[in-house]
Amino acid sequence: MSAGTAGKTGIQVSPAHPGRPVKPRHGAQVGAAVVVLAAITVWAGIGVQINIAAIWENWSNASGNIIQLLQPDYGFFPKVIPALVETLQMAVIATAVGSALSLPLAFLASRATNPRPGLLRATRLVMNIVRAVPDILYAAILVAVVGVGALSGVMALILFNVGIIVKLVSEALDGEDPGALEAALAAGASWPKANRAAMLPQILPSFASQVLYTFELNIRASTVIGLVGAGGLGILIDNVRSFFRYHELSMIILSILALVLVLESVSSALRRKLV
């Protein structure tokens, strides 16, 4: 390659070796990025009051708690069961309803499957808002609207699920080869029919795998939203925590752990079958 053509294509030429390009330097960019990240970290660190010394000071009183935690109160287990079951019920219902609602919404939210730009943008905006609200905020508001108990929890989880599944599935649709869709449209199908016949089979495996993934998330999330009264294990956690009953807390954690690990292995086995 001559120096002339190299110049035309914008490649810098080394003066000592006219045939060789000079190593491109991103030093300034990387440096700037590091400075920005460090600054944000310092700012956030001050904000959250990082305090290593306190950890040292509290260590002795903490060790007592940790010893308690390592000795779960197995006698407490019967009291955990109903809450555990409720958590499971909430997760199943929310996953089922949430994924049923998500599928059509995902088709409306993907550039590949929705030919109407106005509707597309509106759907995406609404979905971004739905996803921006933390599950605990939904739960707190819904507890006020429909009352304390599993119903508010289920509804909060449904909103949480719709946000996640629609995003991931519509991204899968965006990345899908639109060839079959074009063929269906060329055969005279309307958009909804073409989407059903040509695009749905293509994304079903990834949809199913997202549903299982959200189911796993739901088990964890449903233990948490109980803290504001939305049913499940959370209410129990709140009770034992306020009275510092660490043996019982430890039993609850152990049950969550067992439940999640069992369900996760079942669902990852299912996912492997699907993909």
Binding site: G179, A180, A183, L185, A186, A187, A194, A197, P201
Partner: protein, 293 residues
């Protein structure tokens, strides 16, 4: 069933793309029902644009296209849209270079896509196809001799098999016209001949009008009744393949024919083929290739 093919007429058709590029300039063509037409031209000549105007995938800017009793018109006139456009498309099958199958579902489901226009929405949604539609899809698969794969996943088929499934999908539409945009460009030479023979047979036996874009001149000459040469969006040749001599090639390609413009460097021995035409072509290729050196 009334007539099996449909006439296609282009009246002074032009296409200007949104970016201002003119893809077709004042095309006038008349393709009678039941004809098999090959369209050749350099890359970028407007072959895809031409066939895609026929089913409205590319809207025309001016002029008029009639397909059977459907009319496609230019900008500013009443447009064919909604259900009317879909009805036209249901009468026109299309075969694509990259097959365009839904690869994760079965072959039969892909062929049934040809019935989407005629099926009620609830049947489509549930996948509860009418028995008649399934029967139609099966016999379409039989026609391309691939029925034994009906319940296999489309992705498990070879390229040639996938393209035959795509042809079966158009047959399931019971179309009056089949458009094929470089249907063999992704296939190896022997498979290309199988697929081209399928198209030829369908044209001959069912009387369906077939318009096929081909990159290779020898394929176009061998399998079509009539050759249309495009260059820069204009028709530069229109006539039987036998009339397309070297001067015609030069007018289409802007240069002499080279080995890259034909599929088979040597003529394939095939009793159906006019061997003389083949040898002639071979000679032209050699001369063309020589003149480049």
């Amino acid at each position: 069933m009334d007539s099996t093919g449909a006439d296609i007429r282009f009246d002074d058709v032009s296409v200007t793309y949104p970016n201002g590029f003119t893809g077709l300039k004042g095309i006038n063509l008349s393709i009678p029902a039941g004809e098999m037409v090959g369209i050749v031209g350099l890359s970028g000549a407007g072959k895809s644009t031409l066939v895609r105007t026929i089913n409205g995938l590319v809207p025309i800017t001016s002029g008029r296209i009639s397909v059977g009793n459907h009319q496609l018109t230019g900008r500013g006139e009443a447009q064919l849209r909604g259900r009317d456009l879909r009805e036209l498309r249901s009468n026109v099958g299309m075969v694509f270079q990259s097959f365009n199958l839904a690869r994760r579902t079965t072959v039969i489901n892909n062929v049934l896509m040809g019935r989407l226009y005629h099926s009620p929405a609830w049947r489509t949604l549930l996948g509860a196809w009418k028995n008649d539609d399934v029967e139609l899809a099966m016999s379409a698969l039989e026609r391309v001799e691939i029925v034994q794969k009906a319940y296999e996943k489309a992705s498990s088929l070879s390229g040639g098999q996938q393209q035959r499934v795509a042809i079966a999908r158009t047959l399931a539409q019971r179309p009056k016209v089949i458009l094929a945009d470089e249907p063999v460009a992704s296939l190896d030479p022997p498979t290309s001949h199988v697929v081209m023979r399928d198209l030829q047979r369908i044209n001959a036996e069912l009387g369906i009008t077939v318009v096929v874009n081909l990159h290779f001149l020898d394929l176009a000459r061998r399998y079509s009744d009539r050759l249309i040469g495009l260059r820069s969006g204009e028709v530069v040749f229109d006539g039987p393949g036998a009339d397309a001599d070297e001067s015609v090639f030069e007018s289409i390609y802007g240069r002499s024919l080279t080995a890259e413009d034909v599929l088979d460097a040597k003529p394939v021995l095939d009793t159906e083929v006019d061997l003389n035409a083949e040898v002639e072509l071979d000679a032209v290729v050699k001369r063309g290739a020589g003149s480049e050196l």
